[in-house]
C-alpha cells in the first residue's frame, strides 16, 4: 500500500474520528492533514503490531486531544459546508436534519469524559474491537468494557434528557 492509498482508504475514518472526538468542522481538515503528516513521518516506526487503521486512530486521538486544548477549537464557528449549491429542497432538508442530528450527537459526546468518549466512538461508530481499542489506549480490555458501559449509560441519559426538554418546549412549557 503506498501512502496515497493509505490516505484515500482512511481519510473519511480519520475525519470522522476527529469530528466525533471534538474537533470542529472548520478545524477537521487541518487536523486530518496533521494526522497524515505525522503518519508519513512515522511510517518507519510502524511495526505492524496493530492494523494501519488502529495506528492512524491513535494518532488521530492525540491530534484531537491537542485541538480540544488549542485556541483554534475555541475560535470554532459553525458554518455550513462550503459546497451547498443543491437546488433541491428535499435534499437540503435532509442535509439540515442530518446536521442537526450530528450536532446533537456531538453535544451528547462532548458531555462524556474523554476516555469514555474515545471507547464509545471507536467501538460503536467505527466498529473497532475491544482488543484493538485496548491495545491502542494501552489499557486492559476490562477497562474498555467498563468505559463502554459507562459511556452508553451517559449517552442514554443525555439523549433522554434532551428528548424531555424537546417535549416540554413543544408543549409550550419552555425550559
Amino acid at each position: 500500500m503506498d501512502f496515497e492509498e493509505l490516505y484515500r482508504t482512511h481519510h473519511d475514518f480519520v475525519w470522522r474520528t476527529l469530528r466525533r472526538m471534538g474537533v470542529g468542522e472548520r478545524d477537521a481538515m487541518d487536523a486530518g492533514q496533521k494526522v497524515f503528516l505525522i503518519a508519513h513521518r512515522r511510517l518507519s516506526m510502524f511495526d505492524g503490531r496493530s492494523t494501519v487503521k488502529t495506528w492512524l486512530c491513535g494518532i488521530a486521538l492525540r491530534v484531537a486531544s491537542d485541538y480540544r486544548r488549542s485556541a483554534i477549537s475555541r475560535r470554532e464557528v459553525l458554518v455550513a459546508d462550503a459546497p451547498c449549491d443543491s437546488s433541491r429542497e428535499a435534499d437540503q432538508l435532509r442535509r439540515l436534519e442530518e446536521r442537526e442530528r450530528l450536532a446533537t450527537l456531538d453535544e451528547v459526546l462532548s458531555e462524556m469524559p474523554v476516555e469514555q468518549r474515545a471507547v464509545f466512538v471507536l467501538f460503536e461508530l467505527e466498529e473497532m474491537s475491544g482488543e484493538e481499542i485496548a491495545t491502542m489506549l494501552a489499557v486492559p480490555e476490562g477497562t474498555v468494557r467498563s468505559r463502554l458501559r459507562l459511556a452508553r449509560r451517559a449517552f442514554s441519559k443525555s439523549v433522554t434528557m434532551r428528548q424531555g426538554q424537546a417535549v416540554r418546549i413543544a408543549a409550550g412549557g419552555g425550559s
Partner: protein
C-alpha cells in the same frame, strides 16, 4: 475480552440513541474534501510522499521499508518551508490556472459571458509574463538530505515541533522568501518551520477550495470567503494567487465592472505576475 454486542444491534429500531448512532456512522466529510486535502498534503510532503511505501505489518519488512520511507522522510523534510513555499505556489498556480485558460479574446466569452467552451491560452505579449501559466508542476524533490530520519522521529508526537533547525532547511526557506517582493514577504517570519509549513499548507488548501467553489458556480460563497481570508491573512505569500482567484470569481459571477476593477488593482499590485497579460486582456476586452 469477549466483545459486547454493538449497541446498534440491541437498541430498539425507533430509539433516538440508534438514530444518532446511525447518523454518526454515516457521517462523511463534504464532497471534494478528500481531493482538496490530498493536493495540500502532496504540497506539504513533496512528490516523494506519493511513492513512499507503508510497512505492511511484518517486522522483517522494516529494513527495506525504512530505506524507502527514510528517503521520503528526508525528502519531505528537506523540502522544508522553503520548498513547501515553492510547492504551495506551484499548487496555487495550478489552482488558478483556470484563469489563464480564460485568457485573451476567449476570456470575455468564458468568464464574463459565463461560457464553458474550452480555450487555449493566448500568446503573451508582456515580456515579463511567461508564455503560458505553468501547469501545476510536480513538487521538486530535494537533492540534499539535511536531516536524519531519527530527528524526524522526535516529531512523532502531535504536539511535538518538527525539528526545523536545519541550516539547509532554513536557508531554503529564507531563500524562497527573499525572492518575494518586500510587500509579499511572509508576515509570519517568526513562526517555526512547522508552523510555516502548516500555514502554507492551509493557504494552499484554501485556494484549492476556492477554486472548487468557483468551478462549481458557488461564486458568492467563494467571494465571501476571499473577503474573510483577506481580512485575516492580508500578508499571505499566496496573496497574488488569491487575488487572481477573486478576479476569476467576479468574472464567473458575471460581475463584470467589479471584475475589471479587481483586474486593474491586480495589475497595479503585481506588475510582474504571470497573470499580468490575462488581466490586461480582461481590461481591454469588451
Amino acid at each position: 475480552m469477549t466483545n459486547p454486542k454493538r449497541w446498534l444491534d440491541e437498541l430498539p429500531l425507533e430509539s433516538h440513541e440508534r438514530e444518532l448512532l446511525l447518523v454518526g456512522k454515516a457521517a462523511r466529510p463534504a464532497e471534494g474534501t478528500l481531493e482538496v486535502n490530498w493536493q495540500a498534503l502532496s504540497a506539504a510532503l513533496g512528490a516523494a510522499a506519493a511513492s513512499s511505501t507503508v510497512v505492511s505489518g511484518v517486522a522483517a519488512q522494516s529494513v527495506s521499508a525504512s530505506a524507502k520511507v527514510g528517503s521520503s522522510l528526508v525528502a519531505s523534510k528537506a523540502a522544508g518551508t522553503g520548498l513547501l513555499l515553492i510547492a504551495a505556489k506551484s499548487l496555487a498556480l495550478g489552482v488558478v490556472a483556470g484563469l489563464a485558460v480564460m485568457g485573451g479574446a476567449s476570456m470575455a466569452e468564458r468568464a464574463i459571458g459565463g461560457g464553458v467552451r474550452a480555450a487555449t491560452p493566448q500568446s503573451v505579449r508582456n515580456p515579463r509574463a511567461p508564455a503560458a501559466l505553468p501547469a501545476p508542476t510536480p513538487f521538486a524533490a530535494p537533492t540534499a538530505a539535511p536531516l536524519a530520519a531519527d530527528s524526524l522521529a522526535s516529531a512523532s508526537s502531535p504536539s511535538a515541533t518538527v525539528p526545523g533547525s536545519s541550516l539547509r532547511a532554513r536557508s531554503l526557506a529564507n531563500g524562497a522568501a527573499s525572492t518575494l517582493p518586500a510587500s509579499r514577504a511572509p508576515a509570519t517570519s517568526t513562526l517555526s518551520a512547522e508552523e510555516r509549513t502548516a500555514s502554507l499548507s492551509r493557504q494552499a488548501r484554501e485556494l484549492a477550495e476556492l477554486k472548487h467553489l468557483i468551478d462549481n458556480g458557488a461564486t458568492t460563497e467563494a467571494l465571501r470567503r476571499l473577503d474573510e481570508i483577506r481580512s485575516t491573512d492580508a500578508a499571505s505569500v499566496l496573496a497574488e494567487e488569491r487575488d487572481a482567484l477573486q478576479v476569476q470569481a467576479l468574472a464567473r459571477a458575471q460581475r463584470r465592472p467589479e471584475a475589471r476593477a479587481a483586474a486593474r488593482r491586480f495589475l497595479l499590485r503585481y506588475p510582474a505576475s504571470p497573470y499580468f497579460e490575462t488581466m490586461r486582456q480582461l481590461l481591454t476586452e469588451e
